[in-house]
Symmetry: C2
């Protein structure tokens, strides 16, 4: 995914905490006791807040995805798209597990998930705010403050990661109002147990992405293995299934419109506390510019590959990824056009400021905040301009190599993030992998077109000092002619060279990268200074917002930051436009309706047969009269919540989160309870496929399943 | 509308009468007493059955549309599209009532509706079956039987139409099982009272045709005027408003999901009693062939007009009409693809045949029926082939002129339908009007392409004896060069000439028409013979079906035949596909949502202003929280029901019918209660526009309106 745009990193205006909005830190749940009770959640809030207790102790992270244990022998259920890497890794033309699915009927048959398939079990969360901030002084400038915080965090992590089995992190909440140290046990022998055929697990594919109605069986099973001592171990045939101290009971008893749900997982990033000015910048400038950039780049790639099948294949994944970003960006723009979120925030912001003005003490804070946000927007514009001007894989590779050479000269702990010793494998992999998605002529066309677009960007998006250093469009072909970086071995040969050697190179792209490196570094330094200041001011602002909300009796949840959160909501339909209602359920008959026999609407024949024969088994919903597939709830989710356990009022697993609707895309900025809906797999569909289609009887037996009473 | 296809005219298999299906003759309603009561209709069925009593005595026909009286001074409410002719007729560039709407604030200001704006008040319905069939003998062949029925009907009409104020008709029910003589008072001075702006009354235009969600205010007001003696009179300033002996009370009390409705009007044609074989023919042959024909013709017109704006304008209405037919045909094909109606009818047909086999008496009927239906399908195929081969307006004009000359030689009463003295004005008008939609080069391209398509049709669609008489494609340009029928004066100069003179013409198209006239006549004779036989057999079949249904305690309604019918249903949403629900209501906010400012989505500014200001007045729905616009019910309607009164359980007017959903198009063949929905205007929207937007206070005062209690 290309980083076309850096959204200004500040945090802002108050979002009221009521209804289904909120990605709560588990410890906050007791504050929501009456609300949880009102919607019908039966588990005591105190129990939900305790990570060592059921059901939270069954919730795990896969790093980027969420999951949960569903047996006492380390069996993990998550989304098909979250296990995709593990499935792909084991697939061969002879054993095409992507196309045909995979089922290990015995533990011996389970397949290695590979080094990227990891299970993280959160086991300790401590508030370490005072330790992180202990060396901070008011006199520090932004950069100094930022460095001091980094240093404190590194030491807190080092102290915690005494053992290879644990991975620790110290994320900021409310942009630095609080810091928590989170310790996770990292299980690194994770195996593929069961995945349905892709045409079931990804039915509808990219076409249905962000859409409703949805008919995808987005689930797969993994199993966590540990050493005989019960502790995480490198993959080995001697390892044994992890004895999960807790797991979720799976309920096939079903749910209906209006039922409450709990959802636990690891949401990635939200921006719910932005100032109105930041929303207007995103809506009016940043997203339109980003969409225009992506579309132009897609057009250039299409034109440059149209006469060569081979080139088109090489750029297929680039195009797919750009299209994905495009759909999300268009969804954001459509959402902003549909509802004037900025105006809503204006009202909230004004209310907050009026309240704040009545409080005792200095009133410098908001003026300082506004100035910093304005600076953030201005810097973000330049960062966007920089990303446009440096489109093109050869330039990116060259810049990365030069930066690596410079950072390698420093002690490891002082190097920039991403250029430390631990990152080297990743850098090499990227340089190597470029071979699969690079064609010189196409890259040249993209770079030329990007330079032309950069030249036309508004002045605010031009990077200070950059323009004079960029090549003219006419000079670009010569750059490609005089660079050998298109060759993989050559690219890799630069890794490990020192900065002076790189600087002395006569490779045209390496020379260009050296030339613009100062501008790039200056952007990074300005960002650090600004972020340091934002991290000083925003926590004060958030503290005021929290106090304001507290005065109204409302708790405040922090923006998502890839840490464990709990959200709740109800099964509910929504109206995307006047006169139309979507959801809350789809049914297996809808699969037949959509099935064309052509990917991505090519359901497996055994699935179609079971539907046609109405072999509903124990999974027929009494209201729908058939087996449900997917459903909608008002729970508050975002990217990273893929695979999250959706639980009923008793904490039993009734679904897996996997997406949200197109109209919900703006929820990262503003939770509009009328239309924000998360899309979940109904666990009854999974169980039905396992029972009637894929015959995964061994797993059905392993799980604890509550079936509906007759 | 081009007659591309003659659907086989027989009648068939049993449709069960339950739920909301049924276009009932009013006299049948007492048989449905318990059903009406069950859904909550408060008016006694006996009262509904009496055309002289409220509310049926308030229901009128406009000839092709339905309407109702809403005051005791002849005020009639119907659809905007039903009053369109009257609005158009009075519009000038200076007074553009189409664009701006029209409102007569006083009766003096009401505008003449013109000769085609008529109000028919049904005042007498008699069963005349025995009189129609009195001269029929078993020995008669089809043609003789058909002629004898025609003769009896003509005499029954003549006896009834003693007075110019009345118009009588003797339609067949169940294809001749019963005949009713219907006497209607025909009011011929009808004036335009009020029409909203087209952008409100036709908001969404053709794009929204057959679609939901819908946001159209499809209503207009007319007023019936009569002579001072209270009897219909030619238009005159001396006329006075008709004292409508009955009118509907208008209820603004509203309705909600699940409420019962009654709907009364004049549905045109349905085919609910077709045999499975006829459905398969329509689905597999007739509709695909028709759709292919229309699409090809549209393509030819597009290609032939693409370089000339003037030609494109001339064919705009032809194209619009073809597109309309195309949308309906595609809807039929989609509907047949979605649900296997033939298979459903197979089951019903088999049940009926099993029952019939157990009855005493001769069992020849069904064999005879099946043979006739097969013959009907075969003849329909030829008729379709003929319509393809004779595409092209010059050939059609020539054929019509030659037929007119031949028929004119006979006594008026013996002439073919459509070529009698009373039809002459219409024939001339058509010959004259062709000027507006004819371009020689385009017609030639259409004719050539049609001949090429005809040549490729399956053998069954080739007309016996025709192929050898058709010109070769190469010869067509010479035909156009050697014909003067493209000239309007020339076309009209042939009217009144005798058959010998026409036959002697050296005009190339007249010569072609003369040459193929024998084939055309032979098709017509074969149709008469077949129809006569169908009219003998189908009534026996329908009698058996009715007996079968009666044995199950179920009444049977006849197919629609443009006579007054009553249907009932409930306000209800439907699911067009799994996971999506449509309806039952739209709201005025949806207008803003759809409004683009560009026709047909260019709502009037005063409407948008009223919505924005939330000036809901008395018309705010308590559930929706705003003013409803259109709604869906399960009532059973078809073309001709436009403008039909939709009434609540007390017979008060709560809506106007104006369309049905795309998924309902197959209802002319099979009423699928799950998805068949009629689209109605919510009368509250009309009243709200009258009160808050158009300020039609005089009409609001004239009507009797029940407002919701506070």
């Amino acid at each position: 995914m290309l980083k076309y745009l850096v959204i200004p990193a500040a945090v802002l205006c108050a979002t009221s905490a009521y209804a289904d909005e909120g990605q709560w830190q588990p410890y906050q749940l007791p504050q929501l006791k009456s609300e949880l009770k009102r919607i019908g959640i039966a588990i005591p809030a105190e129990k939900l807040a305790d990570l060592s207790k059921h059901p939270m102790s069954a919730i795990v992270s896969l790093g980027g995805c969420s999951a949960s244990f569903v047996s006492d022998a380390g069996l993990v259920v998550t989304n098909h798209h979250c296990a995709y890497g593990a499935i792909q890794r084991n697939s061969t033309p002879e054993h095409n597990y992507i196309a045909n699915g995979f089922l290990a009927k015995t533990r011996d048959a389970e397949l290695p998930g590979g080094p990227n398939t990891l299970v993280y079990v959160t086991d300790k969360v401590e508030n370490v705010t005072s330790r992180v901030l202990k060396d901070i002084t008011p006199a520090m400038n932004g950069k100094q403050r930022s460095d001091a915080v980094d240093k404190a965090i590194k030491s807190l992590i080092a102290e915690c990661e005494s053992d290879k089995s644990y991975r620790c992190s110290v994320p900021a909440f409310h942009r630095g109002l609080e810091y928590y140290r989170i310790r996770q046990m990292m299980i690194r022998d994770v195996r593929l147990v069961y995945a349905p055929a892709n045409s079931l697990g990804d039915f509808g594919g990219d076409i249905d992405n962000y859409e409703w109605p949805r008919h995808v069986g987005d689930y797969s099973f993994l199993r966590a293995y540990v050493g005989k001592d019960g502790r995480p171990a490198d993959p080995s045939p001697d390892n044994v299934p992890y004895k999960s101290r807790d797991f979720l009971v799976v309920s096939a008893e079903g749910l209906k419109n209006g039922d409450p749900v709990l959802l636990a997982g690891y949401p990635g990033r939200t921006s719910r506390y932005k100032l109105p000015s930041e929303i207007r910048y995103a809506r009016d400038d940043a997203y339109p510019a980003k969409a225009g950039e992506i579309q132009s780049d897609l057009d250039v790639i299409a034109a440059a590959t149209k006469d060569s099948e081979a080139s088109a294949v090489r750029y297929a994944s680039v195009v797919k990824s750009l299209n994905n970003v495009m759909k999300k960006t268009r969804g954001l723009m459509d959402g902003f056009a549909r509802k004037d979120i900025a105006a809503i925030k204006d009202v909230q912001d004004a209310e907050f400021r009026a309240w704040y003005a009545r409080q005792p003490g200095s009133k410098q804070l908001l003026a300082e905040l506004d100035a910093l946000i304005a600076a953030d927007i201005a810097l973000s514009s330049e960062e966007f301009g920089y990303s446009v001007a440096t489109t093109g894989d050869l330039l990116k590779s060259a810049s990365s190599l030069y930066r690596l050479a410079q950072e390698s000269a420093k002690p490891d702990a002082e190097r920039e993030l991403g250029y430390q010793q631990r990152d080297l494998t990743f850098i090499k992999a990227r340089l190597n992998r470029l071979e699969q998605s690079y064609v010189g002529g196409v890259d040249q066309a993209r770079f030329i077109a990007a330079l032309q677009r950069y030249a036309k960007l508004p002045k605010a998006m031009h990077v200070s000092g950059l323009d004079a250093l960029l090549p003219s469009v006419d000079a670009v072909p010569a750059l490609y002619a005089q660079s050998k970086l298109g060759d993989t071995a050559t690219r890799l040969s630069w890794v490990g060279k020192d900065a002076a050697a790189v600087a002395a190179s006569d490779d045209a792209f390496v020379k260009l990268a050296v030339k613009i490196d100062g501008v790039s570094k200056s952007l990074i330094e300005r960002r650090k200074e600004l972020d340091g200041n934002l991290e000083r001011v925003i926590p004060q602002y958030m503290a005021a917002v929290i106090a304001w909300k507290k005065s109204q009796g409302k708790p405040v949840y922090p923006d998502a930051n890839s840490t464990l959160r709990v959200t709740y909501g109800t099964v509910s339909a929504y109206s995307p436009k006047d006169g139309i209602t979507k959801g809350p359920f789809t049914t297996i008959e809808g699969i037949v309706e959509k099935n064309t026999g052509k990917a991505p609407f090519d359901a497996p024949q055994n699935l179609l047969d079971a539907i046609k024969a109405k072999r509903y088994g124990k999974f027929k919903d009494p209201v729908l009269g058939t087996v449900p597939v997917d459903f909608l709830t008002s729970a508050d989710t975002t990217g990273g919540n893929s695979g999250s356990a959706v639980m009923n009022k008793n904490g039993e697993l009734i679904g897996l989160n996997f997406d949200s609707t197109y109209e919900s895309i703006t929820k990262d900025w503003y939770f509009d309870r009328d239309i924000t809906r998360a899309i979940h797999l109904d666990i009854r569909y999974m169980l039905w496929v396992m029972a009637e289609v894929d015959h995964a009887d061994n797993l059905l037996k392993e799980m604890t399943i509550k079936y509906p009473k007759k």
